[in-house]
Symmetry: C2
Subunit: 301 residues, 2 copies
Amino acid sequence: MAAVVVIMADFAAWSRALRTRIETALDRVLPAGTLAPERLHAAMRYAALGGGKRIRPLLAFAAGEAVGVPAERVEPAACAVELIHVYSLTHDDLPCMDDDDLRRGKPTCHVQFDEATAMLVGDALQSLAFEVLAMADGEPETRVEMLRLLARAAGSRGMAGGQAVDLAATGRNLDLAELEFMHIHKTGALIEAAVLLGALSGGPLAASARAGLEHYARCVGLAFQVMDDVLDAETDTATLGKTAGKDAAQGKATYLTLMSARDARAYAGELVEDALAAVAPFAAAGGHLADIARFIVERRY
Amino acid sequence: MAAVVVIMADFAAWSRALRTRIETALDRVLPAGTLAPERLHAAMRYAALGGGKRIRPLLAFAAGEAVGVPAERVEPAACAVELIHVYSLTHDDLPCMDDDDLRRGKPTCHVQFDEATAMLVGDALQSLAFEVLAMADGEPETRVEMLRLLARAAGSRGMAGGQAVDLAATGRNLDLAELEFMHIHKTGALIEAAVLLGALSGGPLAASARAGLEHYARCVGLAFQVMDDVLDAETDTATLGKTAGKDAAQGKATYLTLMSARDARAYAGELVEDALAAVAPFAAAGGHLADIARFIVERRY
């Protein structure tokens, strides 16, 4: 127990330091709010800065660390995956999608600005993600592969496709296979990209290392989603920083419509064990990758 | 006069052949409508296939030709710029933007499907553009530069930024400098990217060739916009394939709020002369690049 507390204290300090690093990096890559078109740039900064768990950048940094890539070389990949994530949140909150007015404890982008601006914010953040990744130093062949991976993860066979499945599923009963198909696309694809891009920031990967990281990412992605559903049902809006209990209210399938909260927690625990096994061969048994996996089942928001 | 007719007949055959080529290429890179999520993929195909002037792909092919790159090597770049263009049209037509129900002679994507799907169509087409460009063969360092150029042209300091300026300008009187700032971003950035990406599909460019192509693209981009405003005012909806006279009705600034149609045509003519001069040093005096410039001032829709 004492060992766990020490690991978590180290993890808390590590993630705090890297959250500061990613905030600084995003602040640098986002155009200044004084640059024309000012309102768009201000809205992009509003959406992207000053909040969020930054799970995807943390995964990128931790994956880089697992294969010996220093944080400064991982930064462009960490920014790119977070920009894709923020773009998807901004679009997902729009009235024609989830119609949400609270995100990261603040009014959503279209509430604070307007719908057209929020749509352009998402569009431009997606472009910026690719621009940031393409501008980074590094061996060009791997860089092209990273750009391809990110594009695939964001698109219709990845995150955007998962959103479409989610839309189509509202009000329907999904079985576990259908629910996981949705999550593997909607959140899993970008989480996998975060891990792979972090590791590839140092150059090409051995096939075995890549396979281990992919398996880790898939398990962690699902565990994250299972716990999201548990927390969404059990936690209040103020603690979550977004509207609680909304999925259930909208008739969306969640893990808790298929199993008890106790079974869902147990399932997340199994996925995390699987993730830990996949990164056990890396230095320090996966180091902060392992810590992130553990954090996912222990987090409160 | 006979020489002009011959050139235009050759241009018509050339552009018809390449429109068929780009249609086939887009059909191949777009996921099948039978692949999950089916509705999203069907909507992406609906938005991207079967219509359009394909000006940007034609510019990419012509620029490739001007520096000796065969059409098959230009295809990924031609697809990528058209996918970005179609994504922007799909989002631009949404109710929170221009709220248009007719595009390329068909109901717009959100009318045919629904708003949420149309938003995801645009999002996923943007990702697909980068994926297609990243998957192409070719020297990786130039490929990374092409991806960076496309991202920059699509984003807040390019096309998406131009859309934001356009939104902010509705109902205001713009002077010529402000109007051109908007167009240089909203349409010019992607036209320039089409030309540069076409030429870069063969590898790095000499600085003088690149400068000539950039100048050509800027002139052609503005001439295209000037003529768009003239045609929008003078042509009926059926011929245009989109709602005519809409910009003026929405209180948007156009060239015709700043000058007569006669002066606008003359201005477009001057820009085209400038564009022709910029590509004169290339083989066959710019070949089809020159033809496209001439076509822009002579087109009827």
